[in-house]
């Protein structure tokens, strides 16, 4: 493999497999890109600069690709899935801008964040603007079911972040809380990307449900891969220190598993209590990496990827289905 996915993006070279996955929709993905770049308001002189800045930050448009692929099974209006796909990416970008602002992150994908470059003031307002733009795009689909699903997702995204914040440095979190949190933070948008694509592509209801399941499972796997890379990754590839989640007081699956296995005298409890990581962080990371936790996480992730692949089986066999199927392997391979 020439390039590798790291945290959802292709970081090196051109990956033949990614090209193959995107092939059925590449020309439409270019039209999505055009729409994103033409979002403008001449009364706001720097809007174009800000938009261009976040659009050129290296995202691989995984979510909008899922929308387009999910819309591709039946004869359909060509334009609405494109608008929807652009809305999905705008919503994703808006959450990144706000997340970086509240997390005081200076870098994203190796580039200064909007908040670091222009200040928090602009980052909050620009994020609001991009949120609003995404909602306006969704309205252009004129499909109330799609609009409702989209606005539900905005609530789930915001509530996921709030729940994460209120549970910071809380070592008492069951797996169910983690699953609920990553559904809201990540899987909700993947699910909506697939579901709205299916609806706008006129898929029959059972297939809409199947694509909804696909998106949900892909999103769960995607976030779990991210969380796993955080405890085992190479900091130069992650763009942030290993163990960053634990440092920020955020429990993820590997650290929850560690707490389950060593309920007494666990380094994570001490780390969260003392908020000083002299040795404690490294100790926790070592315990995770030198146990079966990593492979147990693999098993969980693999389970979600398998469910995503299985959901596709009732769909007609075609290029779009093959691409969606290949994406499930791709997410999985990020951990290898």
């Amino acid at each position: 493999m020439v390039g590798r996915w790291r945290r959802g993006i292709l970081t090196t070279g051109i990956d033949q497999r990614a090209i193959a996955i995107y092939a059925p929709i590449q020309s439409r993905l270019n039209r999505v890109e055009e729409r994103l770049r033409n979002l403008d308001d001449e009364a706001i002189p720097d809007l174009h600069t800000l938009l261009d800045y976040v659009l050129s930050s290296g995202g691989k448009r995984v979510r909008p690709a899922i929308t387009l692929l999910a819309s591709d099974f039946y004869a359909h209006d060509d334009e609405k899935p494109i608008i929807m796909s652009a809305a999905i990416e705008l919503l994703h970008l808006a959450t990144l801008v706000h997340d970086d602002t509240v997390d005081n992150s200076d870098l994203r994908r190796g580039k200064a964040t909007v908040s670091h470059q222009w200040g928090k003031h602009i980052a909050v307002l620009f994020g609001d603007y991009v949120f609003a733009a995404s909602a306006t795009f969704v309205c252009d689909t004129e499909n109330v079911r799609v609009i409702r699903r989209f606005s539900k997702t905005i609530m789930e995204l915001a509530s996921g972040e709030i729940i994460e914040y209120f549970n910071c440095y809380n070592p008492q979190q069951a797996r169910e809380m983690y699953q609920d949190r990553i559904y809201r933070k990540t899987a909700s948008l993947f699910r909506t990307a697939a579901e709205t694509g299916a609806i706008l592509g006129n898929a029959p209801e059972l297939q809409v449900q199947a694509l909804t399941d696909y998106g949900y499972n892909m999103g769960m796997a995607f976030q779990m891969v991210d969380d796993l890379l955080d405890v085992q990754g190479d900091p130069s590839e992650l763009g942030k220190p290993v163990g960053n989640d634990l440092l920020q007081g955020v429990l993820t699956l590997p650290s929850i598993m560690l707490l389950e296995r060593y309920p007494d005298n666990n380094p994570i409890e001490a780390l969260f209590r003392e908020r000083s990581h002299d040795g404690l962080l490294q100790q926790a990371l070592d315990m995770i990496n030198n146990s079966s936790i990593i492979s147990d996480c693999y098993t969980e992730i693999h389970g979600y990827c398998a469910k995503a692949a299985q959901a596709l089986e009732i769909l007609p066999d075609c290029d779009a289905r093959r691409s969606l199927r290949n994406m499930t392997d791709y997410i999985w391979e990020r951990t290898r």
Copy 2:
């Protein structure tokens, strides 16, 4: 008058006139309030506290009242205007939470802001959540025209704030720029409050247009009154220092008029250039208050109120129309 409107709220006692204005819709306004207070997500333990905090901060629900009144002219679904009215208030509250966050404001209506009380992190995320909740409420109207208008307004609100920010300390702003800015910041939401109420109340198209005009003109007058009070008000009633806009580098109608009259050697130019207000702010305020600028502003505001009142004339005579008409006088009287 027992109570007085200051910056859009009744600050003292119970105003008989306000009671009369709200009379035709008081029971429905209570249902709006119930809906606002029942917005909950049990996974977020502190959400209820936060919501209750912002809902109890003394707003007089002017915008949702306009929605209900505008919906009141024809036989209509009773529920949808109530949902819409709640959405309008939620959007307003979300913008207040974000505005206070980016402006570093500690107080609003004499109470600590969410950002001051819980920190900027929570304020940004809670604002996002309330934005999203407002969009979800609008979806429940199942009216695409209404949903589209609402999302357009979110964009206008966000862009208004961005434009204000990018023009901070810029003394070269024509009246047209000011009008565009206050339309986005304030009048857009008033307009949408009235327009969506009219649409959901099944008003004929010409009357929808009339109520849209009404809302637009009311919003413009409302913001101009705010801006006028800022240069002439009593700081104890304003809850912030007189001349706060100029201190923040924001030009409003009175200061634009002062710049028009004294293009050379104007204290505002020096104030914006040096960003120190030793005497310069007071000099500018004195020049504004000792000239015909105040009465010229009155004339402008009165013009908008008169247009709002005039727009109502094609509507059937009824309690709702009388209440909307009385509101135009009420806004106007805030300056007296």
